[in-house]
C-alpha cells in the first residue's frame, strides 16, 4: 500500500528533525533558544549549532531593534 509508505515517510522527516545533539541542546539552553521553534538546516532537518546561534542572534537583534 503506497499510501502507508508515504505516510510513514512524512512522519520520518518530522522525527529526524526533532533530533538534536547534546551539544546543540546545551547551547540552546544556555542561549535561551526554544528548539521547537527552529527549522534545522542539517542532514534530514537536523538542528545544527549554527541554527541555534542564528536564532539567538536574531532574538538579540529583535530585542534591540525597537530602541
Amino acid at each position: 500500500t503506497p499510501a502507508r509508505a508515504e505516510e510513514s515517510g512524512g512522519r520520518t522527516a518530522a522525527a529526524s528533525a526533532s533530533y538534536v545533539t547534546p551539544l546543540v541542546r546545551k547551547l540552546a539552553h544556555s542561549k535561551g533558544v526554544d528548539l521547537s521553534t527552529l527549522e534545522g538546516t542539517g542532514v534530514g532537518g537536523r538542528i545544527r549549532k549554527q541554527d541555534v546561534e542564528a536564532a539567538a542572534q536574531a532574538a538579540e537583534e529583535a530585542k534591540s531593534a525597537p530602541k
Binding site: T1, A5, S8, R11, T12, A14, A15, S16, Y19, T21, P22, L23, V24, G42, V43, G44, R48, K49
Partner: protein
C-alpha cells in the same frame, strides 16, 4: 499447512543483525521467530570478530614477552602452543555464546533451528514448516569470497579455516590487504610466521584515509611483514609441502599456506529473495534508508545490505528495524558515523569522513586537517607505540572525521564517535582537558591544536 501463529516478525538469520533485531523487537513487546540454520550469534561470534580478536590478543601477549626487557622485565618467549591458543579462543566464544543464548531465551524469542527460505513475502519455510510474520527481516549474512580460479581447500584457506589451524605456519601468504587480511597478517607475524600480503590496490586498508594506510605500511615494514601492493593474483599451485602463488606481474610467492581474504559476499542465493521480487544488486539486497526492501513488509539488515560489513552496523540496523516496525520512527543511520576499527598491531581506527571524502563533500578549500603525533603523548611513550591522530574538520565547522593509528588506539573510537556524530567543534573538545597521562589525552591535544591553542604540540 501454515502454522497457526502469525508472528509480528520473522527473522531469517541470527547473526549480529538478526539477533539484535530480535532482542529489540522482543523488548518492544513483539512476538518474534528467529530462524537460524547454524548457531545463534552468526559469523561475528563464531568465526569473525571474537575469535580473531582472541588470536590478536594472544599475539599481543607474545610480543609483550618478546619486548619485555625494554621495560625491565626479564622473561623469555618460548613459543606458541596452538592448542592452548585455540582453547582460550574457544573458551571466550563459548562463554559469550552461552550468554547470548540466555539473553535470547530470557526475552522469549522463539528460535527456530533449521535452514529457511523465503516462500512468500510474509513467510519463511524451514524443513517444510511455514513461519508467517506481519513483517520479515532478512539477515542471512555473508560468506568468504574467493577469486575465479582460486579454489579453497588444502593449503588454500579462508578465514574460517585459518581460525581452526592447529599449527603456526612458517610462511604464509595473505591475499588481500583489507581489514581481515591485515588482522591475520598481524596475528601470524606475532606468532612468528613470515608473512607476505598481496594487495591489488595501491595501499593496505585502502578504504581508510591515505595517511592511515601509509602509516600502517610503515609499521608493518618495521614488523617485517612484507606486502606487495598494486599486485594482482594470477594463479595458485598446491604442492606436497607448499603452495605457490603467481601474480600478474609474473612473480611467484611460495609459502605453507595461502589465506584468501578478498572480501565477503552476501549470502543470498537460492533463498527465494529474487523469486519474490526483492530488488537485488550483485547479490546484495537493495533497501532505502529505512532498510525497507522493494517488497512491502520485508526489511534487510547486516552484511546483505551494501555498505560497511561490520557487526555493530548489523546491531544498529537490527535495532533500527525493530524500532521502525514498532512505530518508534527512529532517525535513519548515518553510515559514515559508524566507527571502523582494524585490530592489528598497531590498531587502525576511524569514524566519519576521510580528508578526501570531506573535500569532495565540502570543497577543497573548506576543509582543514591536523595530525597530532603520539610522540608527544606520555602514555604512548610509555607503551612505546608510535602513531598519530588525525582530525578533519569543516572550516569554521565541526570535526567530521577522526582517524587514528597506534597500539590500543581502537579504544578511543568511542570518543571519536561521539565527536563526529554529535558534530562537535574542535573548541568543544579542546575546552575539556583530558586525563593525564592517558592515550585519549592525544585526542584532546589534537583538538586543542586544531582549535588553534596547542598545548603539548609544536604549533
Amino acid at each position: 499447512m501454515a502454522d497457526q501463529q502469525v508472528y509480528d516478525i520473522v527473522i531469517l538469520g541470527a547473526g549480529s543483525g538478526g539477533y539484535a533485531a530480535a532482542l529489540r523487537a522482543a523488548e518492544l513487546g513483539k512476538s518474534v521467530a528467529l530462524i537460524e540454520g547454524d548457531k545463534v550469534g552468526g559469523t561475528c561470534l563464531h568465526r569473525g570478530c571474537i575469535p580473531t580478536k582472541a588470536l590478536l590478543h594472544s599475539g599481543e601477549v607474545a610480543d609483550t614477552i618478546r619486548h619485555s626487557e625494554g621495560f625491565g622485565v626479564k622473561g623469555s618467549f618460548e613459543g606458541i602452543d596452538m592448542s592452548a591458543v585455540s582453547a582460550f579462543k574457544d573458551g571466550v566464544v563459548s562463554r559469550l555464546y552461552k550468554g547470548l543464548q540466555g539473553l535470547v531465551s530470557s526475552r522469549k524469542i522463539e528460535v527456530i533451528h533449521g535452514w529457511g527460505k523465503l516462500v512468500a513475502k510474509d513467510t519463511v519455510e524451514v524443513d517444510g514448516k511455514h513461519y508467517q510474520g506481519k513483517n520479515v527481516i532478512l539477515a542471512s549474512g555473508s560468506y568468504s569470497k574467493t577469486l575465479p580460479g582460486l579454489e579453497i581447500g588444502g593449503r588454500v584457506l579462508t578465514s574460517e579455516q585459518a581460525l581452526e589451524l592447529d599449527f603456526v605456519p612458517e610462511k604464509a601468504i595473505v591475499l588481500g590487504g583489507g581489514v581481515i587480511g591485515v588482522e591475520f597478517a598481524s596475528v601470524w607475524a606475532s606468532f612468528g610466521t613470515e608473512v607476505t600480503i598481496l594487495e591489488g590496490l595501491p595501499n593496505l586498508v585502502p578504504n581508510e584515509d591515505i595517511s592511515l594506510s601509509k602509516a600502517l605500511e610503515r609499521a608493518f615494514r618495521k614488523r617485517k611483514i612484507a606486502f606487495k601492493t598494486n599486485t594482482r593474483f594470477a594463479g595458485v599451485e598446491q604442492g606436497e609441502d607448499s603452495v605457490t602463488v603467481s601474480t600478474e606481474d609474473g612473480k611467484t610467492y611460495e609459502a605453507d599456506l595461502l589465506l584468501v581474504a578478498v572480501g565477503r559476499g552476501p549470502a543470498t542465493s537460492n533463498l527465494g529473495y529474487e523469486d519474490l521480487g526483492v530488488t537485488m544488486e550483485r547479490g546484495f539486497v537493495i533497501t532505502d534508508e529505512r532498510l525497507r526492501s522493494s517488497v512491502d513488509g520485508v526489511y534487510a539488515v547486516g552484511d546483505i545490505v551494501p555498505g560497511l560489513q561490520l557487526a555493530h552496523r548489523g546491531f544498529q540496523q537490527g535495532i533500527f528495524v525493530a524500532e521502525e516496525i514498532a512505530g518508534l520512527e527512529p532517525a535513519p543511520i548515518v553510515e559514515s558515523g559508524i566507527p571502523r576499527v582494524t585490530y592489528a598491531e598497531p590498531n587502525v581506527a576511524s569514524v566519519g569522513l576521510t580528508e578526501k571524502e570531506a573535500k569532495e563533500e565540502f570543497g577543497d578549500d573548506a576543509v582543514e586537517s591536523l595530525e597530532y603525533n603520539l610522540g608527544g603523548n606520555g602514555k604512548s611513550q610509555i607503551l612505546q607505540t608510535q602513531g598519530f591522530i588525525k582530525l578533519v574538520r569543516q572550516k569554521d565547522g565541526p570535526i567530521v572525521g577522526v582517524h587514528m593509528l597506534g597500539d590500543r588506539l581502537g579504544e578511543l573510537i568511542g570518543e571519536g564517535q561521539l565527536i563526529v556524530n554529535w558534530e562537535a567543534y574542535p573548541e568543544d573538545v579542546a575546552s575539556l582537558i583530558h586525563a593525564h597521562p592517558t592515550q585519549n589525552e592525544a585526542l584532546g591535544e589534537a583538538a586543542l591544536a586544531l582549535a588553534g591553542k596547542p598545548l603539548h604540540a609544536h604549533s
